[in-house]
Each structure stands twice: as C-alpha cells, then as structure tokens.
Amino acid sequence: MAVSGTLYTYPDNWRSFKAQIAAQYSGAQLRLRCSPPHFRFGTTNRSADFLRKFPAGKVPAFEGDDGFCVFESNAIAYYVSNEELRGATREGAAQVLQWVNFADSDIVPPASTWVFPTLGIMHYNKQATEQAKSEVRRALSVLDAHLQSRTFLVGERVSLADISVVCALLWLYKQVLEPSFRQPFGNVTRWFLTCLHQPQFKAVLGDVPLCQRMAQFDA
C-alpha cells in the first residue's frame, strides 16, 4: 500500500529533497508543509504538539496519514521509498547504506564549510576553506573512480544512494564547483547530470544550473 503523509521542513531543504525525490519513484503521496500558515520553522517545530510527535524537534519530519511518525532525513527517505530504491538484495541494500553514510560523513561537512561562507551565513576562514576543498576533492575522486564503469552508484538503476549523494552535492555544484575544479571528476559530473535529468529528480529540483564561476565568500 503506497504511503501518504505530511513532510514538515523549511523551503528548499536539501535534506528534504531526498524523500521528495524518492516519493516520485515510489508513488508515495507527500504533502509538503514548509511555510506559514501550516508550518513556521523555529516556531512549529518547538511547539508541544510537534515535540510530542518528533521529540528531537528537527526537520525534516514525516507524519503518515496513519499516524506513523519518523524524523532523520535518511529514515524518512527510506520509509517513502520502494524496494528498488532501498536495494533489493542484502548486498545492494548494504551498498546503498554505504553511499548514504559516505554522503553524510565525507561530503556534507566539507561542502558546508566551503559553501556557507559564500552564502553569507557563516564567517569565512581561509584555512578551513582550503581544508574543505581538499576533502571535497578526495570525496569526488572516490566517487569518480567508482563511477568510471557505472551509470549509477549501486546496481543498474537509480537508488537511494544516488538520491542521497546528489542531494549532498547540490550546493557544491550550484555554488563552487566551477568547470576547472570539477574537470578531474568527469564521471561524477556525467552521473550527476544523468540523475538531474531523470524526470523524478527534475520534478523536485527543477533546473539546476551548474556553477560557472566559483563563488567567493560573501563578506
């Protein structure tokens, strides 16, 4: 039976995109609540009613029409997925988890360190940014080698691995991975564009212009 429910988040949350894209593949019905009057980030997620359902007070948070509640973006994306997205075999499911965790542990921290100052939401620190760039290079080279002989990260079709890693890379590709920086990682960019052009990704992300000139920190 297809899942249906409400996804609470703030607008354009890359963490919420994972569940939204997964739902496009699985047919799960997601009602997005990301702005007033239905949801006000910082207020609604601190209310007693919200905390009763989602004790960590974090978004994204999902409440099924059957009352089932779950938080943590990867858990929500898993819940609204189908078997194919999750990995149909034990090996496939383990490899999906591997890349989902790789995105959270090896991509998100350096990507945020590099991109946030360019958005003006964090102080710029030259050393931290240079360190982040080298971490991003390392993660992209692992992905590039893996995608040398593959269309998608796990198996022959799109899975939660592709959805999670694409969403973790979004800000990088939009904001700072200018052509000269991404030149050594051609397999990753090919794979990234292949995913973006899938109708299920496009339905959620729309058109994603790749960075042409690396954004500098926004003083």
Binding site: Y10, P11, D12, N13, F41, G42, K58, S105, V108, P109, P110, S112, T113, F116, L119, G120, I121, M122, A128, Q131, A132, E135
Partner: protein
C-alpha cells in the same frame, strides 16, 4: 530566503579535525 534556514543546520564543521586526531591517536598506538 531559504538560505537563511541553512544556518540552523546541524553540521559537524570540525569533523575533519576529530577524524584526523582519532587517526593519529590510533596510528601512534599501533606503531607503539
């Protein structure tokens, strides 16, 4: 703007420092 919400994100910015410290600690242990 959606970007402002990002600043609320729970990100472990210092993760590489801790990974590095942990790696050095255990490499030293292994190498006595």
């Amino acid at each position: 703007m959606a970007v402002d919400f990002l600043s609320n994100e729970n990100i472990w910015f210092e993760k590489f420092k801790y990974d590095d410290a942990e790696r050095r600690f255990y490499e030293q242990q292994v190498n006595g």
